[in-house]
């Protein structure tokens, strides 16, 4: 395993050393990046987790989780708890493994050839990587929204009730009620209530994404996973989605991956900062953004690094 690690992170190669030197120069504060430098060297330093997180009740428990894409290690020994009934944001530069971590929670990574995991993730106390787990029913406990709006090429109504349809629900009244409830929760009912039978592909990007959110919550998931839900949207649509996330978080636990620091600050209660597949710092959003324990986090959230 150790050989694999050295292969994947390639810390001792001259390019990496050169890069870290370059970072140091441009920042003129290279010496203070203890944690990041350690990570760049291929070490797995202990994550800085604030006590507030440890006190909260967790809905997802990630425990010493490792993941490989074939030979490349993407996640290094991450342990974190996603508190119940709140919005938790995963931030970090591209390739830090935040999307991979998110997709590990509903095991979407199973679809990728050659993925291998170690360690575990628990959802409401049940381990999701236990050999006896039925992936299909696991995914039914989680709702997921993707980076690019991906409504199916069918009517708005059929899109929203899709998770119920695949569970074999045929009663029209049940489907209609669920559809309306879900569309209202996704704050798009008024916009589409007269065109439910029309194709969902005719909607704007922001509307499509809210349809996808409606689809994700129609079967009352235990956790809602959002994978950069606003990255393909304009600022107005982004604002609407953000309002919606705040709204939804009163009923559902939300785990969101985002590139946008302001977004994380606006919508989330907790924020985890990841770097090169390691968890760096994890705490309440307000603390993490205003008074982080690590200088790296402070620099990252203020845009001076990464």
């Amino acid at each position: 395993m150790s050989t694999m690690e050295s292969k994947t992170t390639d810390t001792n190669s001259p390019t990496n050393v050169a890069r870290s030197v370059a970072y140091g120069q441009s920042e003129a504060a290279g010496s203070s990046y203890n944690v990041i430098d350690a990570i760049r060297r291929g070490e797995v330093p202990e994550a800085t987790v604030h006590p507030e997180v440890l006190k909260a009740e967790g809905v997802i428990e990630v425990e010493r989780f490792n993941l490989w894409y074939s030979e490349t290690k993407a996640i290094h020994d991450i342990s974190m708890r996603v508190p119940r009934g709140s919005v938790t944001a995963l931030i970090g530069p591209s390739g830090c493994g935040k999307s991979t971590l998110l997709r590990s929670i509903n095991r979407m990574n199973d679809l990728v050839e050659g993925v291998r995991v170690e360690g575990g993730i628990g959802l409401n106390g049940s381990p999701i990587y236990a050999p006896s787990v039925d992936v299909i029913s696991l995914r039914k406990r989680l709702g997921m929204v993707f980076q690019k709006p991906n409504p199916f090429p069918m009517s708005i109504f059929e899109n929203v009730v899709y998770p119920l349809r695949i569970d074999g629900e045929r009663r029209k009244a049940v489907l209609e009620e669920a559809c309306e409830k879900s569309l209202r929760a996704a704050a798009i009912w008024d916009e589409v209530k007269d065109r439910l039978k029309k194709s969902a592909l005719g909607l704007s990007g922001g509307q499509q994404q809210r349809i996808c959110i409606a689809r994700a919550i129609v079967a009352d998931p235990e956790v809602l996973l959002l994978d950069e839900p606003c990255s393909a949207l304009d600022p107005v649509a982004t604002l609407k989605i953000e309002e919606l996330i705040t709204e939804i978080s009163q009923r559902y636990t939300v785990l969101i991956v985002t590139h946008n620091m302001q977004q994380a600050a606006r919508v989330s209660n907790y924020t985890a900062f990841m770097y090169l597949g390691r968890l760096v710092e994890y705490g309440p959003t307000a603390t993490l953004f205003q008074n982080p324990k690590l200088i790296e986090t402070e620099h990252y959230v203020s845009g001076r690094f990464g």
Binding site: D134, I136, F146, P153, S199, G202, A219
Partner: protein
């Protein structure tokens, strides 16, 4: 500052020229010109076919040509050309007249040198008769006679009177003829069919009693009961484990799959055993049973013969009435009238022998249009006459349409299913790439090769198997057959087990064990394939579905026919469907699949609800392309089923309604036949154009229908913005 400025090299701005080669004007001309050349060739082709094809049936004037030597010819101008053999200063021309009247022993087309023509008239009373036999007759109508046993009376005389009386009398005469035809075809045909069936039944019983049940293993009642019980209990196990483990992920999934596939294979094998070795299979027909069967058949036959006589009587009745009404149409040169038959040249022809009377020189444009329409209707709805040079091509159209539909029905599911596996289930790697290359190469194989394969494999091997079962030399001893049967089942299970364990555990990398299992499963599939071929070719229990007929030397499926032709064409067009479907499936965005998986859908649910609907327009495009390709193929059909003449359609009201074993007529082959195989090529030539026009129209029509279906589906599937 100034120092640094002077240190910088001075940039000299040169004027960059536009080269003559940069000017794109010639390319516009070149590309546009190429397009125009292509378009005009296509327009010319279609225009030529449409003009020539549609004008064949327009009535043209009948010329009365008086030659220098006093001979008089009645005929229609067909061609006019310069005499090719004469080389002189002033060119000589000659004309080809269609003169008909073949009963007189003359050629129905005649070249006449223009120099030998003394006079050309267009007589008002000249007519052209289209007849049931012996082609057309040119002449002048003289009278309509009613011939009784002894007396002979004239109903109408003189050209005008004859034409007036003709309409009603002809209608009646045709009515009678149709009745006779129907009686012959339906009533007599049904009786003949029944007698033939009876004969075959007896023959079959004889064959079976001769053969006996010797050497065949049959289950007795107890064993059979146990087998059924066993199948039932395995079925129950399958039912209990129907939702044990799921498709993705869990380790229980593999156990579940193992149990389910194992049970399915076991049930399939058990059901086959129960079916093949059922206890009353050994009840061979005894001598006495055979005798009583023969007796009842003989009795039925006498009844049928009586009925047959009845039908013949009523036919005679109608025909005796029919033979009374005669028509006298005189040819000018010899004064000979159109005879009833070539051997009875002193008796005038029957009214009912006339298909159509065209007084071509005395027709208004409207009347000409009427003749034109009636000829088209005849062409589209009746059977061919006179070695296909006259009459209609109804069976040809039906044959072509059914063949095309059948091949589409065969090829689409086959290709779509294969492509689905190749794209969605199969692990992408060297093997799938090789298969793709092979499929693409298959598209490049010359079509005649498929014809040879179809004839050799489908007709002579598979067809013969359907007719008479395994050949004597390959037929196995029953016990060894059952041994191989069990071996096949065990091997099949082994293969599935190896296949299941060739996939790594979820979240784990493929181990050496997995890789070995992958190889093992491939090996096992090959072995299973060989065993299944052995089982089929050595089957001792099956003696064919049409053994009696095959014994008589008239194979049913062991000859060229519709089923094999459509299967051959399906094979030929398979690559088109596979490639199109694969592309359509690949074009469904992965984000759709992910979205579906994210909602908790299984792989199959995702395929059924997201992938297949999204790929449907593309799949249909593939089916349309296959149809277009298959409809136009002729070469393989010559080998596997298309014939010059077969008026028995592949579908009929007679049991079993769809006669997939029958050979058929096909437009493409018909064109070839008319153009190059016809005994009367001059008469057939215009029909080549017409048939070509029709062929084009049918292929276009089928394509258009399919495209319409696709566009309607597409409108339903996708939104307004996509």
């Amino acid at each position: 500052m100034s120092e640094t400025q002077s240190a910088q090299p001075k940039i000299i701005h040169t004027q960059r020229r536009t080269l003559p080669s940069a000017i794109g004007e010639p390319m516009v001309w070149l590309t546009g010109g190429a397009l125009i050349v292509c378009l005009s060739m296509i327009v010319f082709l279609i225009g030529l076919v449409v003009v020539n094809g549609s004008m064949t049936f327009w009535p043209r004037p009948i010329h009365q040509v008086t030659l220098n030597d006093g001979e008089v010819i009645l005929g229609i101008v067909t061609e006019h050309e310069r005499v090719p053999t004469v080389v002189s200063q002033d060119p000589q021309y000659r004309t080809l007249y269609r003169v008909g009247n073949r009963d007189l022993g003359q050629e129905s087309f005649r070249w006449v040198d223009d120099t030998s023509i003394a006079n050309i008239e267009i007589p008002q009373d000249a007519i052209m008769l289209e007849r049931e036999v012996w082609g057309v007759w040119f002449g002048v109508p003289q009278s309509i006679l009613e011939v009784q046993a002894e007396s002979e009376s004239i109903i109408a005389e003189g050209s005008e009177d004859v034409l007036n009386a003709y309409a009603e009398l002809h209608r009646q005469a045709r009515q009678r003829r149709m009745e006779v035809e129907e009686l012959k075809k339906d009533a007599l045909g049904a009786i003949n069919h029944e007698m033939e069936q009876n004969r075959l039944r007896v023959r079959q019983a004889e064959l079976e009693s001769e053969r006996g049940d010797e050497g065949l293993v049959r289950a007795n009642g107890v064993v059979w009961g146990i087998l059924i019980l066993l199948a039932g209990s395995v079925g129950y196990v399958l039912y209990r484990f129907r939702s044990y483990g799921t498709e993705l992920g869990s380790s229980k999934a593999r156990q579940g799959q193992f149990i389910r596939t194992g049970c399915s294979i076991a049930i399939a094998m058990l059901v086959l055993t129960i079916w093949i070795a059922h206890p009353w299979g050994g009840n061979v027909i005894s001598e006495s049973e055979l005798e009583s069967m023969k007796l009842s058949v003989a009795q039925q036959e006498t009844e049928l013969l009586v009925e047959y006589e009845h039908v013949l009587e009523s036919i005679d009745e109608i025909e005796s009435v029919d033979s009374q009404i005669r028509m006298v149409v005189v040819e000018p040169t010899t004064g000979q009238f159109a005879p009833i038959s070539q051997t009875l040249s002193d008796e005038p022809m029957l009214m009912s022998q006339v298909v159509r009377l065209v007084a071509a020189n005395d027709l208004s444009t409207m009347q000409k249009a009427g003749v034109f329409t009636s000829r088209w209707v005849e062409y589209l709805t009746t059977n061919p006459r006179e070695a296909n040079t006259e009459g209609g091509i109804y069976p040809v159209i039906v044959g072509t349409v059914i063949l095309t539909l059948l091949l589409t029905i065969f090829v689409t599911p086959m290709g779509v299913i294969a492509a689905l596996y190749l794209r969605e289930y199969a692990k992408q790697g060297i093997v799938t790439s090789l298969i793709r290359i092979a499929v693409n190469n298959l598209a490049g194989v010359p079509s005649i090769v498929y014809g040879v394969f179809g004839l050799g494999f489908f007709c002579y091997t598979l067809g013969a198997y359907v007719d008479t079962g395994a050949s004597e030399s390959a037929r196995m001893n029953a016990w060894s057959w059952w041994g191989i049967f069990v071996l096949t089942g065990v091997t099949l299970m082994l293969g599935f087990t190896a296949k299941l364990w060739s996939k790594p555990d979820p979240g784990k990398a493929a181990s050496q064990f997995n890789r070995i299992m992958q190889r093992v499963s491939w090996l096992v599939w090959v072995i299973v394939l060989i065993l299944v071929i052995l089982l089929v070719t050595g089957m001792p229990y099956f003696h064919g579905l049409y053994e009696a007929r095959a014994q008589d030397g008239t194979p049913t499926f062991g000859a060229r026919g519709m089923l094999w032709a459509s299967l051959t064409l399906a094979l030929l067009t398979l690559p088109v469907v596979i490639v199109a479907t694969e592309e359509a499936i690949a074009a469904v965005p992965n984000s759709m699949r992910e979205g579906s998986y994210g909602c908790g859908a299984s792989k199959w649910q995702t395929m059924r609800r997201i992938v297949l609907p999204g790929a449907l327009p593309g799949i249909l495009t593939g089916a349309i392309l296959a149809m277009a390709r298959g409809a136009g193929e002729v070469a393989p059909l010559m080998l596997v089923g298309a014939v010059k003449l077969n008026q028995d359609l592949p579908i009929s009201s007679q049991y079993p309604y769809i006669h997939a074993d029958r050979s058929f007529m096909h437009l493409g082959f018909h064109i070839f036949d008319l153009g190059f195989q016809s005994p009367d090529s001059q008469a057939a030539r215009p029909l080549v154009w017409t048939t070509t026009l029709l062929f084009l129209a049918i292929v276009f029509g089928l394509n258009l229908a399919a495209i319409r279906i696709r566009s309607r589906l597409r409108a339903r599937m996708s939104g307004p913005t996509v």
